[in-house]
């Protein structure tokens, strides 16, 4: 059994965390409560963050970025017009996390803090250069999401520290992006491989690969070759292979190492094509 606390502000939250270092933070609870029920998570205190004013849900434009508050659930991210227009890869990824019931409850920030190597929202946030706002009892800092996850279930968060929001930098010029994933069945499954691709107006192509290593990784091509739809497909494949070489997939119940590597190439091609098309559309003003 556990105790339950429902703070209304950050200072109260930090005091609770200080008094009970083994406390766990509860946002959507779609992973935490399953863990608690199965006995995989044993904690004397759950601190419910949903009424903490500083973590309020909501998506707002702040200093050239779109800021997503820690309590914002995935359904809100999916339905936000600005996210749909600027970060389609994030919408596509958020749409396949769990089921509708899960997405009505699970938060984007919770998905990131859970630090699953297969988290669907991680690859899009990596290609968009997302920043996380962190707060502790005596500190505020901003860290790149690329540095935040350090391994399966592990993050940069210090004891007593939490994530207050995600910031997505708003690009000055159009960016085309796409998300692809492979699952064993069509819906409501964990990813065997997932990835995001973003192509900037300046010709930089970024890929982020998930479920093929201890954490999702991001790689970039600055040559302009991948961004150019006239590049020979054989050359495109060679470039993508060089980028996917940094992935270190394992064999497990969902797929073998070799299959994951083969699918990385196939899904990367598809994502690149779709990202290029979206960029071309955006530049035509579509």
């Amino acid at each position: 059994m556990f105790a339950y606390a429902r703070p209304e502000g950050l200072s109260e939250t930090f005091a609770l965390l200080d008094a009970e270092p083994e406390a766990r933070l509860l946002a959507g609870g779609t992973d935490l409560l399953v863990g608690v029920r199965k006995g995989n998570v044993i904690s004397p205190l759950l601190i419910d963050l949903k009424r903490v004013a500083e973590l309020a849900s909501g998506i707002s434009e702040v200093d050239g970025a779109l800021r997503i508050g820690a309590n914002t659930v995935l359904t809100e991210v999916i339905n936000d017009r600005r996210v749909q227009e600027t970060y389609p890869a994030l919408v596509a990824a958020a749409r396949v996390v769990g089921s509708i019931q899960i997405r009505n409850r699970a938060t984007l920030v919770g998905n990131l803090c859970n630090a699953s190597p297969a988290a669907d929202t991680a690859p899009p946030l990596l290609v968009f250069g997302a920043i996380l706002e962190l707060a502790g009892p005596d500190s505020r800092r901003r860290v790149s999401f690329a540095d935040f996850v350090t391994g399966p279930g592990r993050t940069l968060l210090e004891r007593g520290e939490l994530v207050t929001a995600v910031e997505l930098p708003l690009p000055a010029d159009p960016v085309g992006s796409a998300f692809q994933r492979m699952t064993r069945r069509r819906g409501v499954d964990l990813a065997t491989v997932n990835l995001a691709c973003a192509v900037t107006s300046g010709g930089v192509t970024r890929f982020a690969f998930g479920a093929v290593g201890p954490r999702a990784i991001v790689v970039a091509d600055g040559t302009g070759m991948l961004a150019d739809s006239k590049t020979d497909p054989v050359e495109v494949d060679a470039l993508i292979r060089r980028m996917t070489a940094e992935a270190t997939p394992i064999s497990n119940v969902r797929a073998s190492r070799e299959y994951r590597q083969a699918m990385l190439l196939v899904l990367s091609r598809r994502a690149l094509e779709s990202a290029r098309e979206r960029l071309a559309e955006a530049r035509r003003g579509g």
Binding site: F2, A3, Y4, G29, L33, T75, Q101, I102
Partner: protein, 165 residues
């Protein structure tokens, strides 16, 4: 302030209920065991099957994954809240008319997910209906009749049946 039990107020199917609940109990536990609303089912207890689907402030959620204390102050609609004066809702009627119910265990959750869909949009395509029900599993495999029932409710067929009575 940590506590083993907590006072919560829920508006369940339109009726305000003030309860003292153990903090570890789920919303599903409290609905079933304390309020006697056993329409919502516990099946997988890990958010995979959707048998416990209820609406919290209008959104379909898995009641097995929400602590009752988290729902404090919320408005909850369960399958028992759909009918009026002992008469089934149009959607429930459509499930009967289409033969959507086999063993019946998944049906309350299916109906609640469909209810959430129809509350958002009056018309839905077959693809939208399947997407809306994708978080609900039916072990009998009766998906075609279930989707047909929701489609009929969308097109107003169930409504006509209701008016004929």
């Amino acid at each position: 302030m940590a506590a083993e039990t907590m006072a919560v107020t829920l508006v369940v199917n339109g009726r305000t209920r003030a309860l003292e609940v153990a903090v570890h109990r789920t919303l599903l536990d409290v609905l079933r065991d304390e309020l006697g609303l056993t329409g919502s089912k516990e099946c997988c207890a890990e958010g995979e099957c959707g048998a416990c689907t209820v609406l919290v402030d209008g959104d379909g959620i898995n009641a097995c994954l929400v602590l009752a204390v988290e729902a404090d102050g919320s408005s909850v609609t369960t399958i028992e809240g759909l009918g009026v004066d002992g008469r089934l809702s149009r959607l429930q009627d459509a499930f009967l008319a289409a033969g959507g119910v086999q063993c019946g265990f998944c049906i309350p959750g299916m109906v609640m997910s469909a209810e959430a869909l129809l509350a958002r949009q009056a018309r839905a395509t077959p693809a939208e209906i399947r997407e809306a029900l994708s978080g609900n599993l039916c072990r009998c495999g009766g998906y075609n009749q279930i989707c047909a029932a929701v489609a009929a409710a969308c097109s107003g067929e169930g409504h006509e049946a209701e008016e004929e009575r």
